[in-house]
């Protein structure tokens, strides 16, 4: 029976070529616009480390006062607060992070000195963020404490300097100082580069990770200034002329991350942050009541507006587009089915039940949906191929034609036609057999 209905649907499609073509083309465009937008949206809102993100939190402390940031604390912490949080060790694991640039040299004379970016971090960074290692595994909290001149390098840099060999124990020079390599990372490129978003901003969130990681304490000793900072008052802080004064200023530039296993831990940590700020108020550093935040990773990504505007807007407009196509297809299906009122009348008069008519026309709708879906797949592939022209290169490269996306296109097309065929089908099934035959007789 199904096969017969599909054959009928195809025969009818041939009979009203223009109308069928219109429905198929509309569907294909609506559906493919949606899947292409969705592919980009999914890529830009995806979880960079699904296994851990629920337990990773970003603490914020307002050291600027309520007049700044419209009530929200600054995105990063001052040196004073960052170190206080880190040394308090109130979380299971905690790390401080700030991105820096280094002049990198090695004994390999064939590679000239390079300027490379990386992060100053603490020992917990690697375990907290599930960073994969190729050779050995990071440094210890003890290295943090003794401000060790140790470095972890990326597999990229390891390949460039040491030809991909195990370079643990070898030395490199960062800004002219000798560092011992204690570990080499495996390929690691979380998208977005969540741990630096607070510092680098959402526009750089999809850039590649850096190549050099050294202990935070060591970077501070080297007076390694952050690339970006934000100071509460430019009239006083711009005059900062020495490092000690800079460290004790209220300028913010350090991102802190904590790992908290259970909701109770989260609650307790929030309490700790509140009490910390309260204490700062008591000793006169803050002249405002505690204003602290503790956001988990995905909340933090949303708060930082990591998903580019182009991606969220196009998702919104594409969804509206599909809705309009849906309304459109309802009208066209109605036209298509009602044109065949006499035929339905005769089938009903010959004994077909309403349910049979209903089934026949839904199958007809689905058949058209499949056709729209197939054309939609072609357009989706075209759209994904053209994503490079529509989105920035660092976003476009995240999008790939995957099987799930192709399946989604076809399913969406069929679902759309079936939904839009529901009302026209219901109308078709209600046709009175006698009336149709009489009028046209």
């Amino acid at each position: 029976m199904w096969g017969y209905y599909i054959a009928l649907a195809l025969r009818n499609s041939v009979r009203s070529k223009a109308l069928t073509a219109l429905v198929v083309v509309l569907l294909a465009f609506g559906v493919s616009a949606c899947t292409v937008s969705y592919a980009v949206f999914r890529a830009t809102t995806s979880d960079p480390i699904p296994s851990r993100s629920a337990h990773l939190y970003v603490p914020q402390i307002d050291n600027f006062g309520p007049s700044k940031y419209s009530g929200e604390p600054p995105d990063t912490l001052s040196y004073t607060d960052a170190v206080a949080l880190w040394q308090a060790r109130k979380a299971d694991r905690q790390t401080l992070v700030y991105p820096t640039k280094w002049q990198v040299e090695s004994d390999n004379r064939s590679v000239p000195a390079m300027s490379m970016s990386g992060d100053a971090v603490t020992a917990d960074f690697f375990s907290m963020f599930d960073v994969p290692f190729r050779f050995d595994s990071g440094w210890t909290p003890n290295d943090d404490a003794r401000h060790a001149t140790v470095a972890v390098i990326s597999s990229r840099l390891n390949k460039k300097l040491f030809g991909g060999q195990n370079s643990v124990g070898q030395e490199i020079r960062l800004d002219g100082k000798i560092f011992r390599i204690v570990a080499v990372l495996d390929d690691w490129n979380p998208k977005p580069r969540f741990f630096d978003v607070a510092n680098l901003g959402p526009l750089s969130a999809f850039d590649d990770t850096g190549d050099v990681y050294i202990p935070f304490t060591r970077a501070i000793d080297m007076q390694k200034a952050p690339k970006y900072d934000y100071c509460p008052s430019y009239s006083t802080d711009l005059g900062i002329s020495n490092w000690e004064k800079y460290l004790s200023s209220e300028c913010v530039w350090i991102a802190a991350w904590v790992e908290l296993a259970t909701p109770t831990d989260v609650m307790r940590y929030r309490e700790y942050l509140y009490n910390y700020a309260k204490e700062q108020q008591r000793i006169g550093r803050f002249s405002w009541p505690p204003n602290v935040r503790l956001r988990d990773l995905m909340d933090w990504m949303a708060y930082q507006h990591v998903a580019p505007r182009a991606s969220t807007l196009s998702m919104l407009v594409s969804a509206s587009f599909l809705l309009i196509v849906l309304v459109n297809v309802i009208g066209l299906m109605l036209a298509r089915f009602m044109r065949r009122a006499p035929e339905i009348g005769i089938r009903r008069a010959l004994g077909a039940s309403r349910a049979t008519i209903f089934g026949q026309f839904l199958i007809e709708g689905a058949t058209i949906g499949v056709a729209g879906g197939l054309l939609g797949v072609a357009l989706t592939l075209l759209g994904l191929w053209g994503a490079g022209a529509l989105f920035e290169p660092n976003i476009a490269r995240l999008v790939h034609p995957e099987v799930s996306l192709i399946a989604l296109t076809v399913l969406l097309a069929i679902a759309t036609t079936i939904v839009s065929a529901l009302y026209p089908t219901w109308r078709a099934a209600r046709i009175q057999p006698a009336w149709q035959i009489k009028v046209n007789g």
Partner: protein, 418 residues
């Protein structure tokens, strides 16, 4: 009276539409949704295009920038000497018109140094924020900007300042925008302003110059810039050389410049990929987000309008097919082909007007909603009204085909049975 004819037909049209409630409603809904979405999307396109075509005020097409990172281990005096020697070297490269060194450049997308500018040394209210460009007596010619008042720096006024040094230049040049914000009531030329570390006299006012932050995000201080007469000495970082070439084809000049710099020995690192950027490239990168938003919204709006036109054609053809007998009867009773055409155009007009009324309302609501989520200005009411006009025209064009088909129905159909 030809003009009143369509209105005389209103009553039968309304009567006919009442028999096709659902189909009519579908077109109304479709027109309304299209109007709401397309006018918002096109409004976003317009705001983005306005934003990304903001001029920097400079001779962009002839300017390129060398990002020069210092080799570690040099002291401030060595770096200062390096900058002077580099400037001399680059100035003598064939094809180079002028050059100066700074810490930032227009369209960089960041990197500018913010300074607080006070009107009195003991001012307690928040100082006006401005962006500093380190520059010298060649900066104005290199950027291709012009003074609207005052004079340029003299070579003997150029000093050297490091990142942690006191920022106290005795003389500065400001943009007109900053001058007006500092001194709304009178000329800024010759006035003294105060940085955190000391006073500075405004010796010149520039017509316009955009700050380095300009790009996909907008700041109110994009035009508020100060030229500071100093070389930027940062042993831990670098300096940027802004070069103005004679030709817009800057490739040979860039190659020659890099070659000349490399001959000066291993004092610097210039990234092979990111080390040199032309201002046209910087513009393209800086406004990439805006361009992609504008392009996407434009394409989707176009598809949307096409979809709606297609829908109107489809449903109208169906109605024409359904009403062949009635049309035949009208024709045999004396209606001309023009009357039939008019009927369908008037009918479409009526439906689209219904859709437009709903659509304008939806468009305004959608705009208010979007304003909550994105930094978007309020959409002026003429945008959906223009959109309404477009949709009305679109409807008329779309119905023209089916209506012409209907007008061709011969009167004899009335008496023929199918």
């Amino acid at each position: 009276m030809a003009l009143t004819k369509p209105f005389m037909q209103l009553r039968p049209i309304v009567a006919a539409l009442r028999r096709h409630k659902v189909a009519t409603l579908l077109i109304v809904l479709q027109v309304a949704l299209t109007l709401a979405v397309a006018s918002n999307a096109l409004f976003i396109v317009a705001t983005r295009i306005v934003h990304l075509s903001r001029p920097t005020g400079t001779d962009e097409s002839h300017i390129f920038v060398i990002r020069n990172q210092w080799e570690i281990g040099q002291n401030a005096a060595q770096i200062d000497a390096n900058i002077r020697a580099d400037l001399d070297t680059l100035r003598n490269v064939p094809g180079v018109r002028d050059i100066f060194s700074s810490e930032a450049f227009p369209l960089e997308g960041g990197g500018g140094m913010l300074v607080g500018v006070k009107l009195k040394p003991d001012q307690t209210v928040r100082p006006k924020l401005a962006i500093a460009y380190f520059s010298d007596d060649h900066a104005i010619d290199t950027l291709g900007i012009s003074l609207i008042g005052g004079r340029n720096f003299r070579p003997d006024e150029i000093t050297a300042i490091g990142p942690y040094d006191k920022m106290a230049p005795p003389v500065i040049i400001v943009t007109r925008s900053l001058a007006r914000k500092l001194f709304p009531d009178g000329p800024a030329l010759g006035r003294t302003v105060y940085f955190a570390d000391g006073p500075a006299t405004i010796i010149g006012v520039l017509g316009s110059l955009q700050g380095p932050y300009a790009g996909s995000t907008t700041r109110s201080i994009d035009e508020d810039n100060v030229l500071v007469p100093a070389r930027y000495i940062d042993p831990g970082g670098g300096v940027v050389y802004l070069v103005r070439a004679y030709s817009t084809d800057m490739k040979p000049v860039i190659a020659a410049a890099l070659k000349a710099l490399s001959k000066r020995g291993n004092v610097r690192l210039i990234d092979p990929m990111e080390g040199v950027v032309t201002l046209p490239q910087a513009r393209e990168r800086g406004y990439a987000t805006d361009r992609s938003v504008a392009l996407l919204m434009g394409i989707l709006s176009g598809l949307l309008l096409l979809a709606t036109a297609g829908g109107i054609v489809g449903l109208s053809s169906f109605w024409v097919g359904q009403r062949r007998r009635q049309i035949g009867i009208r024709r045999s009773l004396g209606a001309t082909t023009g009357d039939i055409l008019l009927y369908f155009h008037a009918e479409n007009f009526l439906i689209v007007v219904g859709g437009i009324m709903l659509g304008v309302l939806l468009a305004v609501l959608a705009n208010l909603g979007l304003m909550q989520v994105y930094e978007l200005p309020r959409m002026p009411l003429y945008v959906p009204l223009v959109g309404a006009l477009v949709l009305w025209l679109l409807g008329q064009v779309a119905v023209w085909g089916p209506a012409r088909f209907a007008a061709k129905v011969p009167p004899v159909v009335a008496i023929r049975t199918e």
